[in-house]
C-alpha cells in the first residue's frame, strides 16, 4: 500500500496529520503496537522537520507485510552539516518552532533511534531527502 502526503512549510496546525493517517492505517492493518510507535515517532519527527525548516515537502509511505518504508523529500534550505545536525541537542530551529515544543535538537537522533535503516541526503539551498525503513516481521 502506498500513501502520499503534501506538507506545507510553516503550517504547524496541520503538522502531524500525515503521521496520524499512517498510524491509523497501520492500526487497521493490525501491525504490532510497538512497531507502530517506532514508525510514527520517526515519521512525526521528520514531518515536523519539514514544517519547521522547509518551504514544502512530500511524504511517501510504502507499507508491505514485511516493512514500512518512508521517504520524505523537501524543498528548503537543506542541511549544511548533517553530522552536526545529528548531534543530540544541536538545533537551528526558530523561536516559533521552539514554542511548538520542538527544536531541542532531538529530532534526527530520535528518527535514527527508531529506524532499522536511516538515510539522509541534503543539498544546501535545494532541500533534504530522508529515508526510513522499519521492519514489521
Amino acid at each position: 500500500m502506498d500513501l502520499t502526503f503534501q506538507i506545507q512549510g510553516g503550517d504547524f496546525t496541520s503538522a502531524g496529520a500525515a503521521s496520524s493517517q499512517v498510524r491509523r492505517t497501520l492500526k487497521e492493518l493490525g501491525v504490532d503496537a510497538s512497531v507502530i510507535k517506532r514508525v510514527v515517532v520517526a515519521l512525526y519527527e521528520a514531518e515536523v522537520n519539514i514544517v519547521a525548516h522547509a518551504y514544502k515537502g512530500e511524504i511517501m509511505a510504502q507499507i508491505s507485510p514485511e516493512r514500512v518504508f518512508l521517504k520524505l523529500t523537501d524543498e528548503g534550505p537543506g542541511i549544511p552539516d548533517i553530522e552536526k545536525a545529528m548531534t543530540p541537542g544541536y538545533s537551528t530551529a526558530s523561536q516559533e518552532v521552539r514554542e511548538m515544543g520542538f527544536g531541542a535538537g532531538m529530532g534526527l537522533p530520535n528518527i535514527s533511534r527508531n529506524a532499522d535503516v536511516f538515510n539522509i541526503h541534503s543539498v544546501p539551498d535545494r532541500g533534504t531527502t530522508v529515508e526510513i525503513t522499519i521492519q514489521i516481521s
Binding site: 503538522a15 502531524g16 507502530i36 515517532v41 512525526y44 515536523v48 511548538m100 515544543g101 520542538f102 531541542a104
Partner: protein, 114 residues
C-alpha cells in the same frame, strides 16, 4: 492511581474524553519538550505539560498515550480540545504549576518513567 484521584488532587477539569471510576495510570512524564516525550519507549504514562497547543496532543497520539494533563491554568485553544476528542485522548487542565502538580502526584504515588 485512578484518573479521578489525579483530577481531584490537582483540582483539575476534564475537557475531552470520558473517564470511568476504575481506570487508572501508574506512571507520569513531565515535559514541555515534545521530542523528549517521543524518546520514551513505553506508552503507559500520563503526559504532564505546559505546552498548550495541538502538538502536545499530536505527541500524545504518536506516543500512544491516553492522558494529557495541562498545567498552569492555561485555556487550551479549541482546536487542541477538538483534536484530543478526535484522538480519544483525555485532556485535563489544572491551575497548578508543573512543579506543584508533579510534587503532589509524586507524593500521592504516581511514578516517574525513569
Amino acid at each position: 492511581m485512578t484518573i479521578h484521584e489525579i483530577v481531584s488532587l490537582v483540582q483539575g477539569k476534564v475537557l475531552s474524553g470520558k473517564i470511568t471510576q476504575e481506570e487508572g495510570i501508574e506512571y507520569c512524564f513531565a515535559s514541555d519538550l515534545m521530542s523528549d516525550v517521543l524518546t520514551v519507549c513505553r506508552s503507559d504514562f500520563m503526559l504532564l505539560t505546559g505546552l498548550s497547543n495541538v502538538q502536545s496532543i499530536r505527541t500524545a497520539e504518536m506516543s500512544d498515550l491516553k492522558y494529557v494533563l495541562l498545567v498552569r491554568g492555561k485555556t487550551p485553544p479549541q482546536e487542541m480540545i477538538d483534536l484530543a476528542e478526535d484522538s480519544g485522548i483525555v485532556l485535563i487542565v489544572s491551575p497548578y504549576s508543573m512543579f506543584k502538580a508533579s510534587g503532589i502526584l509524586y507524593q500521592a504515588g504516581l511514578k516517574g518513567v525513569f
